[in-house]
Symmetry: C2
Subunit: 138 residues, 2 copies
């Protein structure tokens, strides 16, 4: 069992390290949101900048509260439905802090028995990072 | 010990899942390269496209072989040095398959007792994703 424990520990550390570096490295604004409680599990600096705050302040915050007139459950349900139907065309919300329009490209996955949303954010009407695949061209 | 095993397993699965989804989600071309043997540990589709091949064919391949006139050890050493000195200004190589100029933004980290390079690739002279921070503006 000792061997398995150490192997598991090492493997976890490897993915943990790769995950953290990757999130820090990419310029795409990315947010992870727990489906069960609607809280931000993690995000990177570009995403925090779009939301008008800092990573430190946003981790653990209720994602819907970062937008105007969005209920916690309704907002997460909308994002999950868009992820499942693969149709995020009209998914836009207004940030609470500076009223900018944000678009979302959501995917949902299951990890450790919990459903998690991964969201790529974009400025609506800007050089969209959410949408129909056009983001690969740049 | 059983509890620890399961907790370790669950945590590993969580980071594993987050890591995989994140790598698949981002539009930034990203490659992970082992420092010890110079082989590609992982990469995403945008990076594979830049290199003119597929993810499946590139995982496990020697990274330097994807470029013209690059030796395995010399190339990895150059990338590690650039990561440590945080100066990747002149880091450009020509892809073997279509002779396009690729720039690199390298970082090095240690995971499971092994050093790993994470590289953000960009088309040299294009809308660079490597460089001096200008990549955050888009």
């Amino acid at each position: 069992a000792q061997m398995s424990l150490e192997q598991g520990y090492e493997a976890r550390r490897e993915f943990d390290a790769r995950y953290r570096l990757l999130l820090r490295t990419v310029a795409d604004p990315v947010v992870f949101v727990s489906v069960s409680d609607g809280r931000i599990k993690d995000l990177n600096d570009p995403a925090a900048t779009l939301l008008g705050s800092s990573r430190e302040d946003l981790v653990g915050a209720i994602f819907a509260n970062e937008f105007t007139n969005r209920g916690r459950e309704e907002f997460v349900e909308m994002l999950v439905n868009a992820a499942i139907s693969e149709n995020a065309d009209d998914l836009v919300a207004e940030t609470r802090r500076d009223q900018s329009e944000i678009s979302f490209e959501p995917q949902v996955f299951r990890a450790s028995g919990e459903r998690v949303l991964i969201l790529r954010l974009g400025r609506h009407g800007g050089s969209a990072t959410a949408g129909d695949g056009a983001q690969a061209v740049r």
